[in-house]
Symmetry: none
Subunit: 246 residues, 2 copies
């Protein structure tokens, strides 16, 4: 029988590799009972090493908010990866890049190739990932929000205001023609708003399910950024700022 500690480590490694994994898969792979796997997942989740979701677990990713049920499902994130790959391809050698906290934006990092670009982010996880991949990273300073481990607040806003980004990527919980881009958390919205103001080429990355949705706080007008998504809803087919990632 495997040591409990070793089992936990393997779960974390597996979850991080595959991004999401089901309880069933873990049972087979680690040859342990459902109860044991569930207990492990609960413990790892409470330590913040993984995120438990219905049916299994996902890698730790900073998401806009935990109340978004769709985000908390196990989903094979093919769409997100496609979106991320396209977004990453937009970064060029001399860019000074802002990357917002969030799941979709995190995937972008996996596809970045331009080692000369300089990156700024307010997400602790993104910063670590970037620096481990050998990119030059600046972390935004300020209050650390416990639920998402993103940096927010006055200090953060002030910090960002010093920079002028050439390109930036933001996540969103809602894309709506009338109210623009929206998110549930006022503090994160404020950071998004300010960072967008300081940026020349603005991209909102989102899967198509967010089209039409409205979350409590708006952080930008619909026309103020290009939207990268996986397929364009017919209702929005006349918009020239929506890009379908192939």
């Amino acid at each position: 029988m495997m040591l409990a500690e070793e089992r936990s480590e393997r779960i974390v490694r597996l979850v991080n590799e595959k991004k999401s994994v089901s309880v069933q898969e873990l049972m087979e792979y680690l040859d342990a009972s459902e109860s044991t796997i569930r207990r492990d997942l609960a413990a790892l989740d409470s330590r913040g090493e993984i995120i438990k979701v219905y049916g299994g677990a996902m890698a730790v990713t900073l998401k806009a908010h935990d109340d978004d049920i769709a985000e908390r499902r196990i989903l094979f994130p093919e769409e997100k990866k496609r979106i991320a790959r396209y977004a990453a391809s937009l970064v060029t050698k001399d860019d000074f890049v802002y990357i917002d906290a969030g799941t979709t934006t995190e995937y972008i990092i996996d596809y970045l190739t331009e080692k000369n670009a300089v990156f700024v982010t307010n997400a602790v996880a993104h910063a670590r990932k970037l620096t481990r991949s050998g990119f030059s990273v600046y972390l935004v300073g300020g209050r650390l929000k416990p639920s998402t481990e993103a940096v927010v607040g006055n200090s953060a806003a002030e910090f960002i205001s010093k920079y002028n980004f050439t390109i930036g990527f933001w996540g969103t919980n809602g894309v709506n023609r009338a109210v623009g881009f929206t998110t549930p958390d006022p503090e994160e919205a404020e950071i998004k708003r300010i960072s967008m103001h300081r940026c020349k080429r603005r991209y909102v990355v989102t899967d198509s399910s967010k089209f039409g949705a409205i979350s409590p706080v708006s952080f930008a007008d619909f026309g103020s950024a290009k939207v990268i998504t996986e397929k364009i809803d017919s209702i929005y087919s006349d918009c020239d700022n929506i890009i379908a990632a192939d």
Copy 2:
């Protein structure tokens, strides 16, 4: 019968090869009793050569901390924990606390109890640990240094300069009467220097092995902070700024 020393060596070698090993396996392989294996594991764990876990032991996965691998070996948890416990007890309700990057300072977090205090740190790991324990945390903004995942550089210095700390804790690689406190990295030294200037009650936490040592860059005079250590070297017994943690 095998020599105790040889048995220990074999355990370490086995653990490092296999990454994890159970007590049962070791009993068979070394033909020793459970009691003996357990005693060996306890000793090796306290020396930091392996990590004891429920059911057996795992290899020490040394994380990339450029300078203090040696430190981790010489003197493992007990002394550091004692130092950390004492340091943590100094934090009171209304404190605005700076915590420097480093292993010893990280241990302090485990013993903090004062939930009303506010914390600032330039170490990503410390910030996450603090926020998960329910403390209010501000992360210093600036360039993320890959090797230590600490925030350094101009931006960081400027960020820190906005604050006035009531109490702060710093690690060091050398404590020397003549040259003061020293560390190998110029950038981290700069951050230490600036954060100390902005702080009223300054504490350097260090194990006694660092006394007398000199590292490349000085960041503070010997007299400018109180030193918390586990035992006072006789050569320094006349100093009134050294505290032995009980």
